[in-house]
Subunit: 338 residues, 2 copies
DNA sequence: CTGAAAGCGCTAACAG
DNA sequence: CTGTTAGCGCTTTCAG
């Protein structure tokens, strides 16, 4: 019987709907013989519980929203995978929403997700000035949400961060230890925390180590291959080109690699290239990419844990978790050749 | 007022809940003045409709399930992106479920998705003998679902396919046109339609063109880099190694590329490597991968369209759509060097 | 065009 | 341990 309800089950089992509900939810003791009859009736009827009706009463859907720029981007995909895994482990499902960082799209998703009464939202929005999140936060500061890899001005919400200052410092330290002094820096979308912090880290390192700052070596744009390619070309055409390029993500580094190859510049012999993220892409380029690794899987998992904690009321005050990046040395970097 | 219901809106607007419902759903004519009062009340109360309650009545949730092996795999990620885009365009959300091709996990997802009353499911399960789908089909042949890139024995359900025979033939034709006669073939998981059909295509091509079949040149395993690497090493260590390797997906091709590099075999000078899929990975390897391109975006979009058609009752008989692959020539293939 | 009333399928007191 | 009852918030006849 398709479309059976607890009424059907109750009748068949000869008990009341409350008893059926109780065995369904393990909510309180039910006489063993009754439980069995119910289970059997469920089996025979092919009864499937209607979680919509349950959610309407219980006020939770066990569904999470994941708002992300683009699931086809390996960086986000790896995070998404971890989010989904951790969610599933805790019996939550996740609705994935691709925004391409379009705030209008994002706002529409937020609205519909709330209307579908999802229990919490995980944002990976990189924009530091995301007014959708601000608005949501102002309207309902207690709504379970967590932000990955960014911060929103004026919002004290749950956040999972990776220490960009440390990541940048380690990269710069490593590059200088190889003898590099002219290090180009290509960052992504300027309005993102990642760009800002990594740029700051780069500049601070220069200052702290008495190295000259040359603005011609610093270029921004987008976290994309094309941008890396373009900006790397520009850097390499300088009359005094850098001997190393530090890219603010893997895609930029890959673009730089392409540019170097096209210009006949050998990597790492003549130019070192260092990426950021350590997505799966980093191991399939040639040479394989040295990069600052972000723990994407952990970021996703922690974020999922954090929303769920919130949803389940196991924590009420906002928490910021800062994870550590680590340098992964591969083949795209090498000693300065004099 | 957070948590306002249509009752609150109705009261504030001085109309009945039916009228509120009508403006919410545009379901029938409402006097303009009333509509405006309702809209205003909604605005003032910050009313958010509860789609759970609506779904309980309307029997649809405008939510789709996407069951996929691994969203972190670029091939699936690209499909997923397209599915989500097309779904969003039609006002559907999608719950993503990663199964790692584990049938137990998949069964659990199917159950929970059905209990959450999602409107349809898109499967990308590669296994040709997926009893979860069979079971679902037998129990509810009319449940909207579509299968991407595979077929299930005995189930006549909506399917989006890409012509593997054509893809394989084009690849082989191209390789032989370059002068290759000893062409190795590395396929993936043997129990998948992709493996079977591509292998058949390869073998048929050999027969049809009077070329010798050498079983030593044919190896299977998994659709993974590691498998490609391993099997390519084996092929290349043969006393009479192939001059070209045809890989059943990009990952395998990438593994083969690695093996060749490690063995000091130049690609494409000494060995041509041809991949399958044309994921974003294909352009970042070196040399860039020649491959049979599958239209991932279209596959996802068509699949989404098809379930939605079904859900909305615009079509009732099963449909199989077969898309065409195309050969994308890049740098990993070249003329046989004598 | 509008309102009253009857559910959708389930959970949660409450009384027993 | 079990049943009764009152909703959850909405859609949908059915009268009017």
């Amino acid at each position: 019987m398709a479309g059976a309800t607890i009424y059907d089950v109750a009748k068949k089992a000869g008990v009341s709907i409350s008893t059926v509900s109780r065995v369904l939810n393990n909510s309180s003791r039910v006489k063993e013989s009754n439980r069995e009859r119910v289970l059997q009736a469920i089996e025979e009827l092919g009864y499937e519980r209607n979680l919509l009706a349950a959610a309407l009463m219980k006020k939770n859907t066990h569904t999470l929203g994941l708002i992300i720029a683009d699931i086809a981007n390996p960086f986000y995909a790896e995070i998404a995978r971890a989010v989904e895994d951790k969610a599933a482990e805790n019996h939550y499902n996740v609705i994935v929403c691709n925004t391409d960082n379009d705030l209008k799209k994002e706002a529409a998703y937020i609205t519909i997700l709330r209307q579908k009464r999802i229990d919490g939202i995980i944002f990976t929005t990189p924009e530091i000035n995301n007014h959708n999140i601000k608005k949501l936060y102002q309207e309902q500061p207690d709504f379970p949400m967590v932000l990955i890899g960014s911060r929103i001005e004026g919002c004290t919400i749950d956040t999972v961060l990776v220490d960009n200052s440390l990541g940048t410092t380690e990269a710069m330290q490593y590059l200088t230890s190889l003898g590099h002094r002219r290090i180009g820096f290509i960052y992504g979308l300027p309005s993102t925390l990642s760009s800002k912090e990594r740029l700051t880290g780069y500049l601070n390192y220069l200052v702290d180590n008495g190295m000259a700052r040359d603005n011609k070596l610093i270029r921004g744009g987008a976290f994309k291959i094309e941008n890396g390619y373009q900006k790397a070309r520009e850097l390499l055409q300088l009359e005094d080109p850098p001997t190393a390029i530090f890219a603010a993500n893997d895609l930029i580094a890959i673009g730089a690699l392409e540019a170097a190859r096209e210009m006949g510049i050998e990597v790492p012999g003549e130019l070192s290239i260092l990426g950021y993220d350590n997505t799966s892409l980093a191991t399939i380029t040639f040479p394989r990419l040295t990069c600052v690794a972000q723990p994407m899987a952990e970021m996703g998992a922690r974020a999922a844990e954090m929303v769920i904690e919130r949803i389940q009321g196991r924590r009420s005050s906002p928490k910021v978790v800062t994870l550590l990046p680590r340098l992964v040395i591969r083949d795209s970097t090498g000693p300065l050749r004099r």
